[in-house]
C-alpha cells in the first residue's frame, strides 16, 4: 500500500531558499542543496523547489540550483516557477528535476500542459493550482477561483473546472495551494481539497496552511495523497522525522 507523502516545499529566489506569508515578505531560509540533503536525511518523501526569482538573472541561476540539488538528492524532485514554455520544462528536466510544475503559464496558455505531457509524459507534468475563495458566489461555479502571478491576479476561472481541464490536457498530478491559507498556519482548506479530489483521478498534493500533524491528517482524510509544508519545517517546529512519528501515532501510514 502507498504511504502518505510528506513534502517539504522550498521557495528559491536568486539561488537562496526564502519563505513568506501569502507569497509576500520573503525572508532568507537557507542554502537549497544543504536543505535538500537535510530533509532527505530526515525522511522527506519528495521535495518541491519553486523558483520565485523576480529577475531574469535570478531565473538563470535556477537551472544551476537544480543541478546542485540533483547531485546530492536521491528523492523525487519537483520544480517550477517561471516555466513559460515546453523548452523551459526540458531544460529543468535535463538539469535533474523529475517533475515540472506549471502555474501561470498554464492559465495563460493551457496547451503547455499537453505539450509537456506529450513530450515528457504525464508523470513529469504537474499543475500548480493556486485557489482563493471568491469574494461573492458565482452561480454554477465552485467557491474558489484560480489566482495567478503569485496571487496578485484573480482570474475568475473556476478552480475545480480548471483542475479537471488540466488533467484532461495531461497533468499527472495537482499541487493545490490555498492562497487564503498559505503561510498562515491555520490548517489546509479542507472544503477546497474535497471539491478538487472528488473531481479528478490523479494524485493531489495539499498545500497552504499546515501547522500541526492534525492538519495533515485532515487533509489526507479529505482525499489528498500528499501534504506539502514549508513554514513548520523552515522555522524548526518539526523535523520531517518527528512529524512522521506523530502522524504514525495518529494512524497515518508513513515511510520511516
Amino acid at each position: 500500500m502507498l504511504t502518505a507523502r510528506i513534502i517539504p516545499c522550498l521557495d528559491v529566489r536568486d539561488g537562496r531558499v526564502v519563505k513568506g506569508v501569502r507569497f509576500q515578505g520573503l525572508r532568507d531560509a537557507g542554502c537549497p542543496e544543504e536543505l535538500a540533503e537535510t530533509y532527505e536525511a530526515q525522511g522527506a518523501d519528495e521535495l518541491v523547489f519553486l523558483d520565485v526569482s523576480a529577475t531574469p538573472e535570478g531565473r538563470g541561476t535556477h537551472r544551476h540550483t537544480i543541478q546542485k540539488i540533483r547531485d546530492r538528492l536521491s528523492l523525487p524532485l519537483t520544480t517550477g516557477g517561471g516555466v513559460r514554455a515546453v523548452e523551459d520544462a526540458g531544460s529543468l528536466l535535463e538539469a535533474g528535476a523529475d517533475k515540472i510544475s506549471v502555474n501561470t503559464a498554464a492559465v495563460d496558455q493551457p496547451s503547455i500542459l499537453s505539450d509537456i505531457a506529450e513530450r515528457f509524459g504525464s508523470q513529469c507534468c504537474i499543475l500548480a493550482l493556486d485557489a482563493a475563495e471568491r469574494s461573492s458566489p458565482v452561480e454554477g461555479a465552485s467557491a474558489w477561483e484560480v489566482v495567478v502571478r503569485s496571487g496578485k491576479v484573480r482570474t475568475g476561472i473556476d478552480a475545480v473546472t480548471w483542475a479537471k481541464e488540466a488533467v484532461e490536457r495531461g497533468a499527472g498530478e495537482i499541487l493545490l495551494t490555498s492562497w487564503d491559507r498559505d503561510g498562515t498556519r491555520s490548517g489546509y482548506d479542507l472544503e477546497l481539497l474535497r471539491a478538487v479530489c472528488s473531481a479528478i483521478k490523479v494524485p493531489v498534493i495539499a498545500s497552504g496552511g499546515a501547522d500541526t500533524p492534525a492538519h495533515m491528517v485532515e487533509a489526507l482524510e479529505a482525499g489528498a495523497d500528499a501534504v506539502l509544508a514549508a513554514s513548520i519545517f523552515h522555522d524548526g517546529d518539526y523535523t520531517v522525522a518527528g512529524l512522521k512519528e506523530e502522524l504514525a501515532t495518529l494512524g497515518v501510514r508513513v515511510r520511516k
Binding site: 502507498l2 543541478q67 536521491s74 528523492l75 524532485l77 528536466l93 535533474g96 523529475d98 499527472g172 494524485p203
Partner: protein
C-alpha cells in the same frame, strides 16, 4: 573516481531526464557514461535502460537506434543489466499502454493499467516484499511513478511485490539482471543500496 569503480553505460533513449539515474549510480560508486552506442552495449560490463516515455515510444526509440537485438542478446546471456520503470516493462511481451507493440518478451504476459479504484499515476512510496529466493532485492520502501504494472511473472524470475488496488510486480531479478518498476535512483538510501548491490553482481 578510482580505477576500480564499475563502469556503467546508461542508454539515452529519449528526451526526458536521465540526470537522476546518473546521479544515483554515481552515489552507488559507479563511473557512468550516457550512451547510444551499440558496440558499447555489447561489451560494457554494466548497462542501464532507464524508464523514460511510454512502452511504445521507448521501444520505437530502441528500434531506431538498433539497440533491441544487442539488448536482448545481453539479457539472454545474463550480462549485468538494470531496467527501470518502462525499461522493466519492456521485459514483458506487450502493454495495454501501446497495443500492438512487442516488448522483449523475456517474461510472458502483458503489462496493464491500474484499476479505476486507485488514483493514477501511482506517485509515491510503496512497501516492497521480495520472494525468499531474491539475492539483490530486499524489503523496504521504494518510490514509484507509473500508471501501468505487471501482475505476475514466470517462475524463472525471482520477484518482489507491492500492492496498489491489488498485488503487482515491483521488481524482478535473475542472476545479474535487475528490473525495477520503481525508481531506485529516487528511493533514497534504500535505493542507492540496491544499486550498490547490483553493481557487486
Amino acid at each position: 573516481m578510482s580505477s576500480s569503480a564499475p563502469r556503467v553505460s546508461v542508454l539515452q533513449t529519449g528526451v526526458a531526464n536521465i540526470a537522476s539515474v546518473l546521479a544515483g549510480l554515481k552515489k552507488a560508486g559507479a563511473e557512468v557514461t550516457p550512451t547510444q552506442n551499440i558496440a558499447s552495449i555489447a561489451n560494457d560490463p554494466f548497462v542501464v535502460l532507464p524508464g523514460v516515455g511510454t512502452f511504445g515510444s521507448t521501444m520505437q526509440t530502441l528500434l531506431e537506434h538498433r539497440l533491441v537485438e544487442p539488448l536482448k542478446e545481453r539479457l539472454n546471456a545474463g550480462a549485468p543489466t538494470l531496467l527501470v520503470c518502462v525499461g522493466f516493462q519492456l521485459l514483458f511481451e506487450q502493454s495495454e499502454e501501446s497495443p500492438g507493440v512487442e516488448g522483449f518478451g523475456l517474461i510472458p504476459g502483458r503489462v496493464s493499467r491500474f484499476p479505476d479504484t486507485v488514483r493514477t499515476p501511482q506517485f509515491g512510496w510503496n512497501s516492497i516484499s521480495p520472494d525468499e529466493d531474491c539475492a539483490i532485492l530486499e524489503s523496504g520502501f521504494a518510490y514509484f511513478a507509473n500508471s501501468y504494472r505487471a501482475e505476475t511473472v514466470s517462475s524463472d524470475w525471482s520477484a518482489a511485490y507491492s500492492d496498489n488496488g491489488g498485488r503487482f510486480v515491483a521488481a524482478v531479478e535473475r542472476g545479474s539482471i535487475l528490473g525495477c518498476q520503481f525508481h531506485p535512483e529516487l528511493s533514497s538510501s534504500w535505493g542507492i543500496n540496491l544499486l550498490t548491490k547490483w553493481l557487486q553482481r
